[in-house]
Symmetry: C2
Subunit: 491 residues, 2 copies
Amino acid sequence: MNTGPEHRLLQVLGNWMQHEGPLYARLAQAFTLAIKQVDLPPGTKLPAERRLADMLAVSRATVTQAYESLRGGGWVQSRQGSGTWVGSMSHAGLHPAPPGPRPLSSGHFFSRLVDSSPRSPLNLSIAALSDTDEIFRDGAPFDLEDLLGAPSHGYAPLGHPLLRQMVAGIYNRAEAPTLPEEVLITSGAQQAISLLACHYVQRGDAVVVETPTYAGAIDAFSRAGARLIPVPVGSSGVRLDLLAEALASAKPRLVYLMPTFQNPTGAVLSEQARQEIARLADQSQVPFAEDNTLAEISFGAEPPPSPLAHYARGGTIVSIGSMSKLYWAGLRVGWVRGSESLITRLGQHKAAADLGSSMVSQAIACRLLPNHESVRTRRGKLLKSRLDTLERLLRERIPEWRWRRPEGGLSLWVRIPSSDAHTFAEQALRHGVAVTPGSSLAPDDAHQDHIRLNFVVPEELLDTAVDRLAAAWRTHRSAGGPEREAVEVKV
Amino acid sequence: MNTGPEHRLLQVLGNWMQHEGPLYARLAQAFTLAIKQVDLPPGTKLPAERRLADMLAVSRATVTQAYESLRGGGWVQSRQGSGTWVGSMSHAGLHPAPPGPRPLSSGHFFSRLVDSSPRSPLNLSIAALSDTDEIFRDGAPFDLEDLLGAPSHGYAPLGHPLLRQMVAGIYNRAEAPTLPEEVLITSGAQQAISLLACHYVQRGDAVVVETPTYAGAIDAFSRAGARLIPVPVGSSGVRLDLLAEALASAKPRLVYLMPTFQNPTGAVLSEQARQEIARLADQSQVPFAEDNTLAEISFGAEPPPSPLAHYARGGTIVSIGSMSKLYWAGLRVGWVRGSESLITRLGQHKAAADLGSSMVSQAIACRLLPNHESVRTRRGKLLKSRLDTLERLLRERIPEWRWRRPEGGLSLWVRIPSSDAHTFAEQALRHGVAVTPGSSLAPDDAHQDHIRLNFVVPEELLDTAVDRLAAAWRTHRSAGGPEREAVEVKV
């Protein structure tokens, strides 16, 4: 079991394998970077060599050499009997992040996104499709002048007026009546969550989230200083009994939920559960944010047709949407739907944050949205076929893993018979495939026996990916955890 | 003179004229909105009727009617002898912004950006060109697939690799050696400032800014909870003696400066002054952020060729740049240049904020930047001609206004013989032209005898704009301030 500080250390080290040189040097570089960035402040105690070797699935010799190199550079100090800690050398020019309960970006998440090493692994850890051709072929080549229409200075903190109108139309069709003034265009759902955090959360406030949940939400709320109150997700979505309990006991400032194709579990709330949640929102007068980012990625039993907003009674239900999953994340187009006064407020935060999103992306979004139904069908077909392949390969090659087939979304939430999925994820990375350990998606460091696999890459790559996963799994199992520097990095 | 609370009230009311109906109803609507958004919390005292009439350049009858309408709606309460204040009706569902020294977005700035009324005034208050045709004609029509290159999932929190490289090239050519890893792509300079605020500023920290300065910087730092320490800008840029004093006395966490074509004054720091500032940064060990957003908009004497970063000694100098002014603000492409460890930190904030900027915009930026010199020349020519026209028209029609001709940038910083430029700006708006009152650009509510005029609109519109300004000025002067509901709204 990873304990809290150890889990945090693994996050801080992130994708340490991406550095250059022999293993010990890569590890030392990751430590140096973390110390420079004050992710590991002076005085931080480092794990014993044997323990770190186990955590990272490397030999003890690797850790010994890394620590020696760090001592040589003056980064850490050791004393016989009392261990190794980060030294107190001058940190002039280095500025720690503000203090908070969980100040770090989810290290795994971030490092996978910024990994630009030439030997990038097969990536099953990012929930986004790369297949842009089938999205853009309907309109390409875009004539930029034609696309942008009348000359404009280009600033629109609340969003492109036509796009606001189109997004309002999406909700109107789902029977959640919406005016364009009730829509704020954001740079993806991530910014929507981040602006809600700016608006609602002050340091120390409680925010209820599902566990497991979206890593970017953990990040945004944590950075705003929130105390995260986890409520478990069952096979039919968030546990309503525990949600009601959390509302009563934690007095949260905000609740963040994914009613449809929950990330990562794929769970869907029934119509009845939606009604019950709307009632809880009304009763508690706590604002509920529903993230519908994955709601349109459907390839099985259709989910209830309406978002939580449709069921709203007196309470505040704010809806978050995005074009990142159905269309392309590189557009960075998402939105928030809420009351006009909330939207104005969030718009002021947005103006201070970036003065508005790319008008080019928004203009492209306006061209794409009228093709919505056809894109939805094509994406569903594509993803169903990839999920079928992934399931078949996993059943064949790693029969002891377990999961529940989702009816939509981009992720398979897999239980592996190991209590140390983080170490397995490290092992997988060394075999050339990136997966997300469950603990990265847990506000409570739970789910250490789960990994998330996104079925976003083409079938032929899935085949290679599962081959590598099977090899990594054999190593992980046979070594009873750590392996002995025997496996070469194959990427 | 506007006092602090009155100035804040004017910011809160923003562009109240944009509402519908007779004047009193528009004013009442602006109050209602501000009360709903808790910009005016319960208990806030409103100005006496006569005073508010003076502040807004309307008749007292207008204010009397507006207050009556607010009382009727239960929004405010009045008592003979003790005045009028915001009522304590239930605010369930309304959520105030976190407390802070200046929690409001610069109301004027924001309301001018979101004004979508069909009768929008001629806008001299936004420092951005709308002339996109001459920018995009070099490359249009863009083929989107060709533009985007190899398939990608679209997430790149640190920015498009090629764009990071190109931006590094800009600094290398200006003799500030830079690696791509030392560049973070942001959604405009506004996001660069906002991320620096996230990283450096904790509630209550002092941040040194110029006065006057960029309203968006006031906004971003204030929202992060900064205490703003103003240092005046003279004809040759920020006053170095007062800057040194502020560093010694305020112990700031960050200094924010515009060395070249300072917004709004157009002032340029000499090479010697840059050296001196680099020395102050080194000596104080306070990080200095230089905003070079306007540095390339040059049409007179060329400024020193290098940013502050070129002169850096031991201190931390962070550079901010943008494509919004030379190219187009609708791209939302800007950047930060700093040490790799700072860039990684800011990238983590960026990931939590929005997971990265539009890849479409970034790909277009990569196409545009190689035309840099030609765009720079064309833009300079265009703006010089507009500035010439604006100066000629102002000299002819409003001879008592005074300014210093800038050698670059987008703004004329005009001293008007009135101590109430905010009221004049309201008057101008009623005549159909938007200008920025100096106090909106002042962290210290100073510059109440200044307005900023951006010479960004075509010559024929400048002619109309100055006609309206002259009429507004006559009214403002002849009425000795407030006018008597006589002028019709002409937009």
